[in-house]
Amino acid sequence: MTLPLGDRQPAKGRFDAIVVGGGPAGLSAACTLADGGSRVCVIERGDWPGSKNMMGGLIFAQPTSKVVPEFWKRGPVERPVTRRELWITTGDAAFKGAYESTDFGVEPYNAFTVFRSRFDKWLAGEARAKGAVILTETLVEDLLWDGERVAGVRTGRSEGDLEADVVIIAEGANSFLTEKAGLCQGAESGSLALAVKEVLALPKEKIEDRFSLEDGAGAAYEIIGEITDGIPGTGFIYTNKDTVSIGVGVILKDMVNRAGAAYNLLERFKAQPQVRRLIAGASPREYTAHLIPEGGYRGMPRLYGDGVLVAGDAASMVNAVFTEGANLALLSGRIAAQTVLRASEFGTFGCETLSYYGGLLEDSLIMKDLKQYKNVMPLLSSHLHFFGLYPEIASAAVKEFLTVDSLSKADKHKLIMKLVRSQRPSRKMIKDLYEAWRAIS
């Protein structure tokens, strides 16, 4: 079908770069490229960037402000996070560690809670303002090749081929283009996590009261223990302006093996007494489920080829515990864009030029973090007691200690240690707990 274009000019020439996926990785790449004067086109399959994204979670201020300086002044952020807690739960008890800093409540901030559906949409607006072309409701179905080189993409629209010097794959978890580009073999379910989340409405005052927050400040809680019913995973609670995001993420493989519905886990989590208190009276707004690659360093594909780069979740750049995915996506998108800008100075987009991406990533906190945590997922999968036994021991111990009865404090101490050691040797336990804490803090 050819349409008279009226007084419009048909799109002239090809783009310098095509970005597949309008998530944080793709949009940060687009912002950086547009800033560098590159003609960039972002292709997103959803109705708008963020429309497919359920995440209501944390965006870290440092990496994000590199892409969009002082985004908190203009972007749709919910609350700056001044309070983080880690809980280990069992039955009706919880063992809590908290960190609070009022510094985090002022510039330059540390992290914000956001709704990704709004944040991504806004970030797309920023990218557009910088000159990027954002196409929505358009599915990228395949890559175009020029010999061995990726030369563009094929979309589901009529006259749908689009060429460019370089394609940045930023299509999120389960990236099939990465496979098509010959960069990986496809993810196995062991490296995928399933997250289920609910948004619950709660008045602002109640949120600040229940989470002991100053006016406008936010909290992020991570919770491990019995709530996931022995399956490796975590629960989380984040405060937004007048809603609370609450969810559970578990390793898909283990989940499937246990044949329990993810939704039941969320219900179980919400019924945990301490959790229940936080969300009492809150009314549900929406419920969503989403896949996250949890493979981390071990699950990463090759990151570049001739005319192609992979960033964000598509490159499995997710910290074992998923709270930092968007972070890494933003950073890696930016680095991919910097690589492309440098490549256009040389005028070549082959593997060698793009290998610069690998180098930049190695030096960035992305690879450092991913490598550091590369053993976490296997560790959690093989240490299932993290999610059952430990919380139980810890809680039994604390309960014993805090129960005032006829025993002296010294006797209690002895009793507790005996109780604990009977369950697991203390040397092992200390090591376990140390690793666990590192993995999630």
């Binding site: 079908m1 799109a11 072309v133 358009t138 009529s158 749908g160």
Partner: protein, 290 residues
């Protein structure tokens, strides 16, 4: 000679997701996605098809908050030539009378630059659901009024007339209207095209013009809330019908369940085999349960 159209496009909340807060009695707007009023997409398609045949230009016009620009962007993607957003605080809170006042002023301004032969609206918006804006525009602009169009036949460029099929409750009528005309389009009128990639790219680079009160010739007292004769007095959740008796077919055979249901119906006066109106329950209908 060519046919120039102005298509009115409204951004509406996705009504399948609208809920009322039972405590505050107010609309829950949280996270409510916005969409282009589905009928307006058919209006856009109708305008584009006419342009395919007769040539001319299609301008999309919307009145709404700044984010309504998204809706215009979307219809630019279908190949609309120009997009204008009327956005100003002064327009806020408009009912259909104040809406047509502002839209008509904008259409007059567009018509001052190039003749406007057709104003095309969707048959109704899914939030307000009134279908009043199209006819209101026809009246204000002195255009022929043809609503609920289910098929466009042809335009006679010489005689300056358009022929269109209109869907009534009892059948369809073929109307001939003098141009300029204001049309409202139903979903059966056409199938919406999926824009080509080049069109979409061209649209993404096309600006949306934003007009405020000072860009059009209007008197402020006819705009927005001030210019609206209707007032929303209160909103509330729709009354709920009581959940009745539930039979599980699993507990007994289908025949038994069917028999039980007919017994219940008989108790309430429903007789079999026609003319139910003459049964006793017909009279028990409340008249305007206010």
């Amino acid at each position: 000679m060519a046919i120039n159209s102005v298509v009115c496009v409204k951004q509406v909340p996705d009504t399948t997701q609208v809920r009322i807060d039972p405590e505050t009695g107010s609309l829950i707007r949280h996270g409510l996605p916005s969409v282009v009023n589905p009928f307006d997409l058919h209006a856009v398609e109708a305008a584009l098809r006419l342009r395919d045949i007769y040539g001319g230009r299609v301008t999309a016009l919307s009145m709404g908050p700044p984010q309504a620009e998204e809706s215009l962007r979307k219809v630019l993607g279908f190949g609309v030539n120009r997009a204008v957003l009327l956005s100003d605080r002064a327009f806020a809170g408009a009912d259909t009378l104040a809406t047509t006042y502002a839209l008509a002023a904008a259409i007059r301004k567009i018509a001052a630059e190039e003749p406007v032969d057709l104003v095309i609206c969707g048959k109704q918006s899914i939030d307000g659901d009134t279908g009043q804006v199209g006819p209101g525009l026809a009246h204000r602009l002195g255009m022929s009024q043809v609503t609920y169009i289910c098929g466009l036949e042809e335009i006679d460029l010489e005689a300056r007339t358009i022929k269109a099929w209109r869907q009534l409750e009892t059948g369809r009528e073929l109307l001939e209207a003098k141009l300029p005309a204001a049309l409202t389009i139903t979903e059966t009128c056409n199938r919406i095209r999926y824009a080509s990639l080049p069109d979409l790219i061209a649209a993404a680079e096309q600006p949306v013009e934003i007009w405020g009160v000072d860009d059009i010739e209007v008197e402020r007292e006819h705009l927005g809330l001030k210019g609206s004769p209707t007032r929303v007095n209160k909103i509330f959740a729709p009354p709920v019908r009581e959940r009745g008796e539930i039979f599980a077919a699993a507990d007994s055979s289908a025949a038994e369940v069917a028999a039980t249901v007919f017994d219940r119906l008989a108790l309430r006066g429903v007789t079999l085999g026609g003319n139910g109106r003459s049964t006793s329950i017909a009279d028990s209908k409340p008249v305007g349960d206010t």
